[in-house]
């Protein structure tokens, strides 16, 4: 294992712990928006999709990898945009009484 890979494993463990304790504070009232927000974040895999697709698009690989690369970018982007937008819509509804409602 390279030093980068050891660092990555460390990041994996630390982020898991920090995330776990941070999310423990979220009231159950907000669990649905929390979940859809986290869901949007899981689309972060877009970063990997971009890197892989870029190689495929450069013509170093077959057309099949091009299709897979494009699919990965599209599905990950749908995940991110759809997730954040829908979370925003939900949180807007949790406005306090007296605030302007949708």
């Amino acid at each position: 294992m390279s030093s980068l890979q050891i660092i990555l494993l460390g990041v994996f463990i630390i982020s898991t712990l920090v995330g776990y304790f941070l999310i423990n504070n979220v009231p159950s009232l907000l669990h649905t928006p929390l979940m859809s927000g986290m869901n949007a974040l899981s689309g972060i895999t877009l970063l990997g999709a971009l890197v892989a697709a870029a190689v495929a698009f450069k013509g170093e690989s077959t057309w099949l990898s091009g299709i897979f690369g494009a699919t990965a970018i599209i599905t990950a982007t749908v995940n991110i945009i759809g997730g954040f937008a829908v979370t925003d819509r939900m949180l807007k509804m949790f406005a306090r009484k007296g605030d302007k409602h949708e």
Binding site: I7, T16, S42, G48, V55, I74, I81, F84
Partner: protein, 479 residues
């Protein structure tokens, strides 16, 4: 990190290693700050936007770092994803939120699986053992997430049957699929197997596992399933990040994985189910005897049978402290607006109205809160199980709207039934109970609710909750 021989390092990146890691760390902290804000109702929207901005930053950072900017092919794909995602988010109804989340989980899982597959082919990753094993794991978990999410979304959207579907040798096949996944992990560390086998076999095994696992999930276990799939989509992203050596993917992916895991735990606790039982499909077998609790209650109530049936309108008019218990039935009947109207009328009449929200009411964590918020219910009126349970004794009236298992007193006594030991809302302690349920059939868990048999204090309004509530509302003249 010299032995990372990914292609990307061959070209001169526009951003130095140091700058890249510093920016990645800042973006991770930004995401964490966004999540922190998400725990406060007033700041939650801002928090969500901050997280979104951090992800956008991550995309730009990646484009620069890996010299992707001039590769025009990625832009139409990004644009297509943005348009599809945005239109879906605008169009989805609040009631459809569980299947929307399930679907999005699946699309994230698909992307992670593809990234894993590419990494296994050496695209974006080196050929070392660590990368290959991580790539295979990402491929497996991503595929499992995709398949499981699609089935879950299909069930939630009522395209697929709600009842658990179970094959005769279910456990054996699930176990075999898992075993194959593990074996492929080991094989991927060697170079003895051809690439095509390394790619295809894990996909098939993970598809099978995902399919069987979610087909066997019943409606009421959905909150657990969705939380778990949510966790897995994060884990798949994080592990694909390990495979391609992308620190942002690892950090953000594991935060998502942890959050989903925590929600899964909360849901399991709220249903008194173990995660293993849900995954392996030791499904709550509906229809188990519930006789014990039932008969004892009926006998008890025979003495009270003579009790005078009070006029529901009088009870409503006199109630000063009212607790409303919503359930999935309210969601399918779209009755949340009628519920809000009823609450408004009661409040105008001087009553205090609160909502008791069981953690697993509905089909995903927090489902009821979103539906009630949609109907403009003030979130201060929404109470969690532990906070409100002692209030049922003193309340004048409990109004149940399409909820059953979460307030079934049999959970306390009926040993051996699926809901035994599950924390419930103590509706039965209330003086007067109105139940707006579709019929008197047992809830998902298949355990008869003794409250239906009770004569005193319980008034049943059977049928579509939106209609029965409307009828009551039109006849209601509060003094």
């Amino acid at each position: 990190m010299n032995n990372i021989t990914s292609y990307t390092y061959k070209s001169t990146p526009m951003i130095s290693d140091l700058a890249y890691y510093i920016i990645a760390a800042i973006l991770t902290l930004t995401v964490l700050y966004g999540i922190y804000l998400l725990s406060k109702v007033s700041k939650a929207r801002l928090g969500n936007r901050i997280s979104a901005a951090a992800v956008a930053g991550g995309v730009i950072l990646t484009l620069l770092r890996h010299d992707i900017l001039p590769i025009w092919g990625v832009y139409p794909c990004l644009l297509a994803g943005i348009i599809i995602g945005y239109i879906m988010a605008l169009r989805v109804k609040m009631i459809e939120m569980p299947q929307m989340v399930a679907f999005l989980n699946g699309s994230g899982g698909a992307a992670s699986a593809i990234v894993g597959g590419f990494a296994l082919m050496g695209i974006g990753a080196d050929a070392g053992v660590f990368s290959r094993v991580a790539a295979t794991l990402a491929l497996e978990i991503g595929t499992l997430t995709l398949m499981g999410s699609l089935i879950a979304a299909g069930k939630l959207h009522r395209i697929l049957p709600q009842k658990p579907i179970r094959l005769s040798s279910h456990r054996v096949i699930v176990g075999l699929a898992l075993l194959v996944c593990l074996v492929m992990l080991v094989l991927s560390s060697t170079t003895s197997v051809s690439l095509i086998v390394l790619l295809v076999v894990p996909i098939v095994a993970a598809l099978l596992f995902g399919l069987l696992f979610t087909l066997n999930i019943g409606g009421a276990d959905m909150p657990i399933t969705i939380s778990l799939l949510n966790s897995l989509s994060g884990v798949a992203g994080a592990i694909s990040g390990l495979a391609i050596g992308d620190v942002l993917l690892v950090s953000v992916g594991s935060i998502v994985g942890a959050s989903g895991l925590l929600l899964t735990q909360i849901m399991c606790r709220a249903m008194n189910r173990s995660l293993g039982a849900v995954i392996l499909g030791n499904a709550a077998t509906p229809g188990i005897s519930s006789g014990k609790a039932k008969t004892s209650d009926i006998e008890e109530d025979k003495e009270e049978e003579t009790a005078i049936k009070a006029d529901p309108h009088v009870i409503l008019a006199e109630a000063r402290d009212v607790i409303i218990i919503p359930g999935y039935g309210m969601a399918i009947a779209h009755a949340q607006h009628q519920v809000k109207t009823l609450a408004d009328r009661l409040q105008e009449n001087g009553a205090k109205v609160r909502y008791a929200i069981h953690p697993v009411a509905g089909r995903m964590p927090g489902h009821m809160n979103v539906l009630l918020a949609e109907a403009n219910v003030d979130y201060d009126d929404l109470c969690e199980l532990d906070d409100i349970n002692s209030a049922f004794k003193t309340a004048d009236l409990a109004i149940v709207i399409g909820a059953n298992d979460v307030m079934n007193p049999a959970a306390r006594e009926a040993e051996g039934t699926p809901i035994y030991g599950m924390p419930i809302l103590n509706v039965d302690e209330c003086k007067h109970i109105f139940i707006f349920n579709f019929d008197l059939k047992p809830g998902y868990a298949g355990v008869e609710n003794p409250l239906y048999q009770r004569r005193s204090g319980v008034t049943l309004f059977l049928g579509n909750a939106a209609e029965t509530l409307a009828t009551l509302l039109s006849a209601l003249k509060l003094s």
